[in-house]
Point group: C2
Chain length 160, copies 2
């Protein structure tokens, strides 16, 4: 089930969230963000934030927000996170499909991911399968802890 996040949900997802940002392989977030900073970034700054819940366990979460203001406000941005033990079950796909529906309901016309780390091949392939195109490549955009500087992709889908 996908529903709006509660503070308690984020608390229970925090072990995953903190380990994912500490790994520094997929998100351009500060690895040392506190719980409060993370909550602000993921749950308060965005327009809406959802969780994927199964048997009362939070297995994933995503946010949706405008990617820019004014004349570019019709493009939204989302970020998704899935707990390690729930990988490979199609949860990211379900959340992305859900987010596209929410986006259209909210009046957005397109969705953009600003920095999909090129070494995160599972994510790149999934977004492509779901209709997103690589519309740009940012050279050396992300400092991977083992590989060093790697490119990131800008990915985009017109939703209507």
């Amino acid at each position: 089930m996908i529903r709006k996040i509660t503070p308690q949900d984020f608390q229970s997802f925090w072990p995953t969230f903190s380990s994912v940002i500490l790994a520094e392989e997929a998100y351009a977030f500060d690895a040392d963000m506190t719980f409060e900073q993370s909550y602000q970034l993921w749950c308060e700054a965005p327009l809406k934030t959802f969780v994927f819940v199964e048997d009362d366990v939070v297995l994933g979460t995503y946010y949706i927000k405008p990617n820019a203001m004014g004349p570019s406000r019709h493009i939204c941005n989302c970020g998704y996170m899935v707990s390690d033990q729930a990988r490979g079950k199609g949860i990211a796909r379900q959340m992305c499909e859900h987010s596209q529906q929410v986006a259209v309901e909210l009046g957005f016309k397109a969705m953009q991911f600003n920095s999909v780390v090129s070494t995160n091949e599972v994510a790149v392939k999934l977004w492509q399968k779901l209709g997103f195109d690589i519309i740009g490549t940012i050279p050396k955009a992300y400092k991977h802890p083992r590989i060093g500087y790697v490119d990131s992709f800008v990915m985009y889908k017109w939703l209507l």
Copy 2:
């Protein structure tokens, strides 16, 4: 002369700033931002903000900030604005060159513009002349008041 901005500088530049965001031809800002919101966005949220001053008149301003956090914090982002009466005098070029120097001093390795409106040909050509590459094209990224949806470019330069 290029120096750090003061609240008084922004006040005196406000007629330009407000007319530029109202025109909705170059910036992805809300056209109806108040003075206080604009000050926050341009002068407080960024890392640093500068003005180009000639004979005590503020002819241009730019900000510099990290474009993302954590593993992508080495890329900065800048925004430049020049008053109408000062166009064609090379002020944007001087500010961009200044910003690249400031960027390197602050430890940034690259500079990225996330959305250069494709119809803003003067800007696109200037950034290209200054070594920026178009590394992505965002389809229908910007709703131009007369032309309708136009593409935006992601532009990037490695500074080192």
